[in-house]
């Protein structure tokens, strides 16, 4: 198991290194001057000073080495559009908001989805099953931004229960959390339902029943515990989806989070900001995937023995 983790961490660092290098050179190769998004007619000397300040006058490879050296000390440079605003500071300021939203969405998505799945499986071919399956199909066929817009429209305009946009109170987090988790609720529910139905046909359930295990304990200890295990495998992709979904959701609900900031950096062509945030995002994303994989290895003894999937 330890070897497996070490190997995965090694691959993770390699991937991260590739991403950083690739991002750096692509960003530097993007056609267009970083100055072009700012004032149009700058005197020549001002331009030269600007390039010198950000080290853009040096050869590309020197810039790369310098960037990597700074990165090692967690210095991601300074915004090109807002002078004096450091990229790292910016990330530190905006991330907690996104983190809260993301964690809430993951928890909400997982618990709701899994319980819906269990409900549907035990009430198979009865109305709760149909309702859940209908919701699941809706969840996979409606884009997140549509769900978000509809929620916003109904719960703030038609029935003014919750605040429309912004950030501050718990009330502000409810709609974005639901919108963010909607797709994954559907995925968990579908998957969990299939798993429970599968487990119910296993021989050990018959054995447990024959032994006279009480119904509650049978469902809880034998059915759900076994059915929930494979769900962890889709936790990774679902978390990834929530990461990416947050870009749109934060924009719709005007939440001052990481995704909102990232999209505006792209729109402003703030290259140093894009570079720094891309690296941060990639690192976080890869770590999340790794944690899920290791978690799966820890709970499933079959993987622990063979060392790999």
């Amino acid at each position: 198991m330890l070897r497996y983790i070490l190997k995965r961490v090694g691959i993770m660092f390699l991937t991260l290194f590739i991403i950083i290098t690739m991002t750096f050179f692509i960003i530097r190769a993007v056609p267009g001057d970083p100055l072009s998004s700012m004032a149009r007619n700058l005197p020549e000397q001002v331009k030269i000073n600007f390039y010198a300040k950000y080290g853009l006058d040096q050869p590309l490879f020197v810039q790369y080495l310098k960037f990597m050296k700074n990165l090692f000390m967690l210095d991601l440079g300074e915004s090109l559009v807002y002078p004096g605003r450091s990229v790292a500071e910016n990330i530190k300021r905006f991330s907690p908001v996104s983190a809260r939203l993301g964690i809430q969405a993951v928890i909400f998505g997982f618990t709701t989805g899994v319980s819906f799945g269990i409900l549907a499986a035990f009430k198979r071919n009865k109305w709760p099953d149909y309702v859940v399956m209908f919701l699941a199909i809706l969840g996979v066929s409606i884009p997140g931004f549509v769900t978000a817009s509809l929620l916003q429209y109904y719960f703030t305009v038609k029935i003014p229960l919750l605040p429309t946009t912004g950030w501050g109170t718990t009330g502000h987090t409810i709609l974005p959390t639901i919108a963010l988790a909607f797709g994954s609720v559907a995925a968990y529910a579908r998957y969990m339902r299939a798993n429970v139905l599968d487990v119910l046909h296993q021989d050990y359930i018959l054995t447990a029943r024959a032994k006279g295990v009480p119904r509650f304990s049978l469902i809880w200890r034998h059915v759900i515990r076994n059915a929930i295990l494979p769900v962890i495998t889709i936790l990774g992709p679902q978390i990834a989806g929530i990461f990416i979904g947050s870009f749109v959701i934060e924009k719709i609900f005007s939440i001052p989070g990481f995704g909102f900031n990232y999209v505006s950096a792209i729109q402003n062509r703030d290259f140093s900001m894009i570079l720094g945030q891309t690296i941060f995002f990639a690192a976080l994303y890869i770590t999340a995937l790794l944690v899920v994989d290791i978690l799966y290895g820890l709970v499933d003894p079959r993987i622990r023995i063979s060392g790999k999937r």
Binding site: I11, M12, L14, T15, I18, I19, M22, T23, I26, I27, A29, V30, P31, I137, L138, V140, S141, I142, P143, G144, F145, V146, S149, Q152, Y153, V157, A240, F243, I244, F247, V248, K251, I252, V263, I266, Q267, I274, T278, F281, A282, Y285, I286, L289
Partner: protein, 313 residues
């Protein structure tokens, strides 16, 4: 004692038996017309009402995206300030947008871009994925190991990053978008094909074919490909909506198709500012995305049941 008993019983000889009611002639004959795998799959699909309905809906959507633009009699790009933000009525079936453009034409025009993205994206990623996965699976061993490590690294790169970087580099438009979406989009297909080839390669009938002297070409075309094809087809039906979804998402954050061209995602995005007053502007493109996703998903489920003989009940 023993001989005594045989004496008592009647001697039975074959000529004492007569076949009653049925004859052996023709017992081995196949009475039903022979059908191929594809005919059988088609028959199964037709029987599945949900999947068949999804197929019909999909054909309808495809026809509409191809011709719908010209049906309403309005151009998708002519603006008219006299009829801005009109609710759906007899002349403008889906209403008009904030520049007075006919939404019916725009929705189908945008749909063409979305569908094209989905189909092209899926075709390209299937092509690359099949070759990559096929090579990895067929050769196996070291080649396979290295090729799979590469995929492992590619898939951990957040997909959105790739798209953003590529669209920053190549600019916005349909082709940079397709390039961006397929850049790492083929990995899933490659994994799938590889897995399937690895599995089929070890089957007894392949060994039998080798023993009978079949060459590698015959094995690849008759056994490996045909047994992978059904899985590929099913995967394509799930891939197409994935690309449509991705395109909608990218257009939504302003990295997708640029005006005057449009797509369902771009239309939905444009409606966002007016949502509180003109919700119909979001409704139609969103409905089309949802219907397309739904029909592809249901058709994919149906195809999986129809094409996989192992799942037959």
């Amino acid at each position: 004692m023993k001989s005594n008993e045989t004496d008592k019983t009647v001697q039975l000889t074959p000529d004492m038996f007569v076949i009653e009611g049925c004859s052996t002639i023709g017992a081995e004959e196949i009475n039903r017309p022979e059908i191929t795998y594809w005919e059988d799959a088609w028959r199964r699909l037709k029987k599945n009402r949900v999947a068949f309905g999804a197929l019909l809906l999909l054909i309808f959507l495809l026809v509409m995206t191809a011709t719908g633009e010209y049906m309403g009699g309005y151009s998708h790009e002519v603006t008219d300030s006299a009829i801005r933000n009109m609710w759906p009525d007899k002349t403008h079936w889906f209403g008009t947008d904030e520049l007075g453009r006919d939404l019916f034409s725009r929705v189908w025009r945008g749909g063409r871009v979305s569908m094209l993205m989905g189909l092209l994206g899926a075709t390209i990623s299937t092509f690359i994925g099949c070759i990559y996965g096929g090579v990895a699976g067929y050769y196996g061993g070291r080649t396979d190991n290295i090729m799979m490590r590469i995929i492992e690294i590619l898939t951990t790169i957040p997909y959105l990053m790739v798209v953003i970087l590529i669209s920053l580099y190549f600019g916005k438009g349909i082709f940079p978008l397709i390039l961006a979406m397929t850049a790492t989009g083929w990995c899933g297909m490659a994994r799938l094909v590889r897995g399937q080839i690895l599995q089929v390669k070890e089957q007894e009938y392949v060994t039998a074919a080798i023993a009978l002297g079949a060459g590698p070409w015959r094995i690849i075309t008759r056994h490996l490909l045909t047994n992978t094809l059904s899985i590929i087809i099913v995967s394509i039906t799930f891939d197409i909506p994935r690309f449509i979804f991705a395109e909608a998402f990218l257009s939504y954050i302003g990295l997708g198709v640029q005006a005057p061209d449009t797509s369902w995602g771009a239309l939905a995005s444009a409606s966002q500012q007016n949502l509180m007053f003109y919700p119909y502007q979001l409704f139609f493109p969103a409905l089309m995305i949802a219907l397309t996703m739904l029909s592809f998903t249901l058709l994919g489920d149906g195809l999986r049941d129809a094409l996989d003989p192992k799942l037959r009940q």
